[in-house]
């Protein structure tokens, strides 16, 4: 008796209308009559919005000119010369023009330090962190305020625009993460007094609006300080923003801490790790990774909340853009729309970048093969 010989059936190509672009479109865009209708409707909507935006920002827009006359046309579009003329103000505020190179240096060095820090593959992380958290803040402080090393002093009341936005946001971000982590750990502490203090701090700062915190910091705080003791208004705002953001950060981090199973603490304890080593090596790396979306969410919220410093008389990017609407030599119907569009775009670029980076880090840090 001879065994049957089995030959596998040769593979045939899939039907043409199920693969490639046609196959994709059939499956994703036109699978049912309702899907087709929805696809057509949404495509129309997208085209319409694009047409309006494109028409306003490009086709009907003015691109060059020295004053408002450039933007007074029959059909009104964006008044880009306004942005062009005011760009220096928008970036530096009233920082003296002769001294603006100092701000540029701070921006450039910050970028130079930040980019390699954000790229996981670039080495020297420890040196980079020391540079960015040790040297860079000092460098920026002396560079921007002046008064030493032969630099002309520049009052913080003359700072403005993107400079103020970035100073407030970066200090808030850098300050709130470690403070928030400590508060979150404190809130879960077994020591009742530490826990009570942290809960009190978090609930007070989370329970009041940022405007109140800023107002307290800039108007009320000096009343409590002894005569002659006064520190800079911007500095007070920085502290206020950082404390405010840290309360939110603490709750985000606590969410991550609560997601770590008890077994992780027990395994660490059984191996001889104490509280701080367990926290630093085993718990926090996992907890922070879990809440990256929440952390970045807080960062983005904080970045946009910096516009509220206007309430205490500091002019951030949005504040300074609004301030220049009152310039009569640029008074056109489109000036404020153009200004707001510009400010919105700048804020969007920063926030979108943070958002994308958070998604990148989530993927980079994932050790779960099922994702």
């Amino acid at each position: 008796m001879s065994a049957k010989t089995w030959t596998p059936t040769p593979a045939r190509p899939a039907p043409a209308n199920t693969v490639g672009f046609v196959g994709w479109a059939r499956e994703n865009l036109f699978a049912t009559k309702f899907d087709s209708a929805l696809t057509v409707f949404c495509a129309g909507l997208i085209l319409y919005v694009l047409d309006v935006v494109f028409g306003w920002a490009i086709v009907d827009a003015s691109f060059s000119g020295e004053d408002r006359n450039a933007c007074l046309k029959q059909v009104q579009g964006a008044c880009w010369p306004f942005i062009d003329a005011k760009l220096g103000q928008f970036i530096y505020g009233r920082y003296p023009e002769m001294e603006r190179w100092r701000v540029d240096w701070v921006f450039a060095l910050g970028l130079l330090g930040l980019v390699p820090l954000l790229m996981p593959k670039v080495g020297f992380k420890r040196a980079n962190v020391i540079f960015m958290l040790g040297f860079y803040p000092l460098f920026s402080f002396f560079m921007l305020t002046g008064g030493s090393f032969g630099l002309v002093p520049v009052e913080t009341s003359d700072w403005g625009g993107l400079l103020v936005t970035l100073v407030v946001a970066v200090t808030g971000i850098v300050g709130s993460l470690p403070l928030g982590i400590l508060l979150a750990l404190g809130r879960r502490s077994e020591l009742p007094i530490v826990r009570a203090l942290c809960v009190g701090f978090i609930e007070i700062f989370r329970g009041v609006p940022l405007i109140t915190v800023l107002f307290m910091a800039s108007v009320m705080l000096p009343l409590f300080l002894p005569d002659g003791v006064n520190f800079d208004k911007l500095m007070r705002c920085l502290i206020g923003v950082a404390l405010f953001a840290s309360a939110y950060m603490a709750e985000v981090v606590r969410g991550g801490l609560q997601a770590i199973p008890k077994g992780q603490y027990e395994a660490a304890a059984a191996l001889g790790f104490g509280y701080w080593k367990t926290t630093r090596l085993i718990i926090l790396p996992q907890a922070l990774k879990l809440v990256i979306p929440g952390i970045v969410n807080t960062f983005i919220g904080l970045f946009k909340d910096t516009t509220l410093v206007l309430i205490v008389g500091l002019f951030d990017l949005l504040g300074i853009v609004q301030l220049h609407f009152t310039d009569s030599s640029w008074a056109t119907p489109e000036t404020h729309i153009t200004g707001y569009a510009f400010a919105a775009f700048v804020f969007w670029v920063f926030c979108f970048a943070m958002s994308r980076y958070s998604i990148f880090m989530e993927k980079h840090l994932s050790t779960d093969p099922n994702q």
Binding site: P261, G263, A269, A270, L271, F273, P285, T367, D368, P369
Partner: protein, 246 residues
């Protein structure tokens, strides 16, 4: 019998108002293998968790290698690093590779250099038969492999005593054997072991003594041969008939 490495006398423990361990007396000699069995809720896991103070007892004394475990203990960490523990749920650190799981404690608790720790880790991974998985993450391994990593991780601290808390209860039947094989080898090498398990075959093969617990008390203890063939207590007989009949 040489001087016992573990000496428990008149030990009592409560969870809140619940009396979970009652008048426990137990001495374990160096190199002895003890299997603890009993129905769920009998306090067997709690008992071995008291030995590295993951749980704290309220009355009586526990001495591990001559050091009394009580609230005044200053160097709890160093005691713990001499007592290895393997958990039912493995409890590997998921954000670290297998090798990093094994080197973390030697580096940070025992201040070994990275090279020393890695050499040691590879040696123990070899011993639990997964040297080729060193660079993978725990999530990429099967349950049996993860538990063997957990054993290697504990061994990397060169413990004098190993505690096993139902090490095979969360595993598929096919994986139980690979973990038990590693534990048998460890026993043959002379490690002092306390093992909470329902694997009666393992108890027969390696245990010097089997302890049966119920309601927080040690009901019966004996050498495995006598324990299985001639249990003294009605409760033990009933338990064994349940466990051995299937």
């Amino acid at each position: 019998m040489t001087d016992p490495v573990i000496r428990i006398s008149d030990m009592n423990k409560w969870f809140g108002t619940f009396h979970v361990l009652r008048d426990i007396n137990l001495q374990v000699a160096a190199g002895e293998k003890i299997v603890i069995c009993g129905p769920s809720g009998s306090g067997k896991s709690t008992l071995i968790r008291c030995l590295n103070r993951l749980e704290q007892h309220q009355e009586g004394t526990i001495e591990v290698e001559g050091v009394s475990l009580d609230g005044s203990l200053k160097n709890l960490e160093s005691i713990r690093s001499n007592v290895g523990m393997v958990f039912q749920q493995f409890n590997l650190f998921p954000h670290m590779s297998v090798l990093e799981n094994c080197t973390l404690a030697p580096i940070w608790v025992k201040q070994k250099t990275k090279q020393e720790a890695e050499a040691l880790a590879r040696q123990f991974l070899e011993r639990v038969r997964i040297p080729d998985q060193a660079d993978k993450y725990p999530g990429q391994l099967s349950g049996g492999q993860q538990q063997r990593v957990a054993i290697a991780r504990a061994l990397c601290m060169n413990p004098d005593i190993m505690l096993f808390d139902e090490p095979t209860s969360a595993l598929d039947p096919e994986m139980i054997k690979e973990v038990l094989d590693v534990m048998v080898e460890l026993a043959e090498d002379g490690m002092t072991m306390l093992c909470v398990t329902h694997e009666m075959g393992f108890a027969r093969q390696v245990a010097d003594r089997v302890i049966f617990m119920d309601e927080g008390e040690i009901v019966e203890e004996n050498e495995p041969e006598a324990f299985f063939s001639n249990p003294q207590n009605e409760r033990t007989k009933m338990f064994l008939s349940q466990v051995l009949s299937h």
